[in-house]
Symmetry: D2
Subunit: 329 residues, 4 copies
């Protein structure tokens, strides 16, 4: 039985708490949040303890593993402190926005043997994971082309965008990891950025982009991003191989199709937003973490994945600004 502490009692903390409580190999031991009321309320729902200071988590001998769901700037400090205290760690993405900080953290983590996993939850999405498994099993032959369509329902406020690190670090980062998950090493990045919304354009950031990734294998991935999508959270992926193709369609809350004099087989808008669309992915991600720690195996994503995705984001940013492709070492 793995005793787990959760740092951060916000919406994602609630999601993780429910997963831990329902998992036969895990126990929710502690919920930590500087807003003590939030921590207490969430802890009470599942019969756990609560605290306000992260240091209490690291010092707690009963805690075996920590889920770091604090704000992004605290990810590296919390992650390192927990790992140094000998706790297994699942850290939410993005690990950080600055590559130097990440490289420094990586150097420290290299000296620590406790299992550390990063929250690239889309690898655990049932549809994407099923496609990945089928590709690995050779169901569609050699993978030739990957298409990732990823559009958010609506852009965050310009204030957030200013500190987000830009569309590639903030939004495309997930798609970069997905591309690596399917294609392995990427050797060239070309990005086109779009200024569609003048309010976002004023922040200097793009609000839409098309990224082309060449893999060492010869396969090519295309990522199509937009901060805005009228129909909801548009998340599709198509893997096209020599012998077939696998397409993950969008997810909706139910299967109803409406037909009337104007339309037929109309479905409702896509699940909106990530906590809903990727609810299963969050659950399966945390289960994978629990099972890896309990079994003593390496968690499925590590610091190297966090570094690689951030590097692709930096290359895409450069390409979108210069107009030229960026070759990676």
């Amino acid at each position: 039985m793995l005793n787990i502490a959760i740092i951060g009692a916000g919406r994602i903390g609630h999601v993780h708490a429910g997963t831990v409580a329902a998992h036969p190999q895990a126990n929710l031991a502690l919920v930590c949040d500087p807003f003590g009321d939030a921590a207490e309320k969430l802890a009470a729902q599942y019969g756990a303890r609560s605290c306000k200071e992260a240091e209490e988590v690291f010092a707690d001998p009963e805690v075996d593993a920590v889920v770091v769901g604090s704000p992004t700037p605290l990810h590296i400090p919390h992650l390192l402190a927990a790992a140094k205290a000998g706790k297994a760690v699942l850290c939410e993405k993005p690990i950080a926005l600055d590559m130097q900080d990440v490289e420094a953290a990586r150097a420290e983590l290299d000296a620590i043997t406790t299992p550390v996993m990063f929250g690239f939850n889309r690898r655990f999405d049932p549809s994407f994971a099923a496609i990945h498994a089928a590709v690995q099993e050779g169901k569609i032959g050699v993978l030739e082309q990957l298409t990732i369509i990823s559009r958010d329902p609506a852009a965050p406020p310009a204030e957030y965008i200013k500190v987000s690190g830009g569309i590639f670090r903030d939004m495309t980062i997930h798609d970069f990891d997905t591309a690596r998950f399917f294609l392995g090493e990427i050797v060239e990045v070309h990005a086109v950025g779009q200024h569609l919304d003048p309010v976002i354009a004023e922040t200097g950031d793009f609000d839409a982009a098309v990224v082309t990734l060449k893999a060492a294998s010869g396969a090519v991935a295309t990522i199509i991003n937009n901060r805005h999508c009228a129909s909801g959270y548009d998340q599709r992926l198509e893997a096209s191989g020599r012998d077939g193709a696998l397409l993950a369609e969008n997810v909706r809350a139910h299967t109803v199709r409406l037909s009337n004099a104007e339309v037929t087989d109309a479905q409702e808008p896509y699940l909106d937003f990530f906590l809903e669309r990727y609810a299963d992915a969050y659950r399966l991600e945390l289960s994978a973490f629990i099972e890896a720690v309990e079994a003593g195996t390496t968690p499925p994503t590590g610091i190297a994945d966090a570094v690689a995705a951030l590097r692709l984001a930096e290359a895409a940013t450069e390409s979108a600004h210069t107009g030229n492709p960026v070759r990676l070492a």
Copy 2:
């Protein structure tokens, strides 16, 4: 090369004329219509001759085969005259509305060896035909349940309904033939009629119905009819077998799907109406006729099919009025 005459230069005559002209084994020789202008115009488009009197068709030595597309009351006279003149005949459905007339025609036809085929065009619909072929090949194992959904876009005028022979003879007749095409001999019929539109109710006819057919094989077919469907001409069929199922979806003019803030993957209304929805079926039906005549084989539908479908219509009418099932001999 089969020289074909078409009686009736209306919409269905135009459909058949195009098929004949494009068929490598057939030649459009003659178009006949009491409205001479219509016959002349259609004939001109494909370089054929035209006439106003059906008798000219039957007497024309150049004509090998006749497509009877005249009004229903003339079907039997034209069919018999053409057959007696030694022409092969494709007769549009319904052969007639009265079982006695049909039985009399059958007796006459039994003495004639010229090929006569009846226009149960849905057997030739690419989707229904593909399902039928797959069932025959055993792709879904023993056929257990058949579901036919057949809804017209809008009811015809009450004046037409009064002389139509009623919903079962006029509309369900196609579905009865489809059920026979898939299930063979039917041994029991139960029908529920509905009075949804008060204008039609006044004519004494039902405007919607659900029919259950028990086949000798133990399979059961369900037919769901409605004279009205807001989304267009709703024509679906599902064959459910021990090892799988085959579903024919509705047909639309194109494959476009619209997504916006209200709906996703919305398609346009169904193809409306039968000449559009069953355009391929009419073409393939006439091709099958041409090929059977040229090859000297028996056409795929005969007078026995016309009789059997009409008998089911009579049984359904009785059942819907009495509320009790009707057992067939």
Copy 3:
């Protein structure tokens, strides 16, 4: 905060326990099962107490509400004892197999004011519920025809079928409730039973059926059942109204579509079986119960619904055996 006890620590008990634990207005207080280990283990996962005797549940002053998930023959005793002890009750279906027992229970319940709800979980399925809500809002105009397709993935053992009460009481009972949910009062039932599997035929029961229900409103419902479906648990519903139609498609574990040289857009088999397919329905059903009890409102399903569904099952059984329709008072 509603303190809930669950009687029965089997698979459905696990489902309900997770719902209670995650619900902000409810607390899992007690799990009861004659197999004490099962009760203890489930209780431990959510920090609840456990017991072996149902009497302890009824006598426990901390327990506000009871979920009766015991075997069918114990439903009425447990339900009545809990209600008499002043507990709110959610009773799994079927309430019983014998109409006399149900009528007797109804008489006793009529004298008790504690809220009692019955587990017709499909009313809470997100797709069926969305269609029902849209119909109520007039989105498709007057409801004219309802089609329910409900096929189990595989028949239970013949031993179970012998004591099941027959296909209509055991399997169609859910569809009868769904038909009532949409159409209200039913005035006529016609059923055709099929003997497809010789092993089941030997038990005297049908293993497939087509039922036609006439509603007082003039609408007609068709239920198509089969104990076997090669593709999984086939659960579809289509409501067809004057101005449009709403179709609930089958549910699958993910949205992946495979295309290769043989097939395109192929999806995986349907979710199999009811705990998976109706997982959301069970969760939403229990939430509705919790919210009704907390708010002091009448639960959405009551003993009258249980009685009405069983009455339809009895009528369908009679019709399938006699071949004649059964009119209801």
Copy 4:
């Protein structure tokens, strides 16, 4: 009535002949092919005359319009000769493989007023045309991103590829025209070529590619090409706008969906190949030509479109070889 001659009695000649014959405003006057038998046979089917020499077509006073379906190297000579003889011309694509030849032809055409149209048939595909019309009508708001997926079922022989002008001039040329049809002026092209099939790699040509096009409007188009697709001729298009999106799905021969123990809702492979997939497009293209000539209006595609598409092909070829984007004037 427009009297039309067709040069080329191959498969595409047969398609056009059927369209002309069935068109109420057109008459098939003459079929020309150096293989006289082919010309004669096709002409006979529709009651037209035939000839072996193209010069006879240009000199024929009865001929109002010419469909140029000869091999690519003869397109410009036939096109110019017909236009100089005062005939309206519909010229099949590609007009030529060499930009200098095309510019020279353009200069000559500029001095001629007879209507000349080029066979960018996909603009007339019912699905693509419906999306284009909806975009023009503002149904999805400002167009932001266009995705074109275009994969052939199987690569042509290496011998053909050697003289094809390369994938961008031979295959992507259609998609370039489609991109211009939707987005107007293109200002930057970036292309990644792939060598997936070693036999094609030996010819020096790519057999798959991903092209990114920036439009002057700020919109971006992505073209994903492959010479091979296991599932057939994969032709999809998605227009994504500020207020919605429109997707054209693949086309199949019928609507049947198969479900069994392995798959559900499986459809058959895509229509294979272009004459089948774009049959309606060819028919509607020729109708548009006939109607423009009869009405005296400018045909919907002209030499400028042929030039622009070829220019994009040249830019893409350069980009794929250098790895750098190409800016257009």
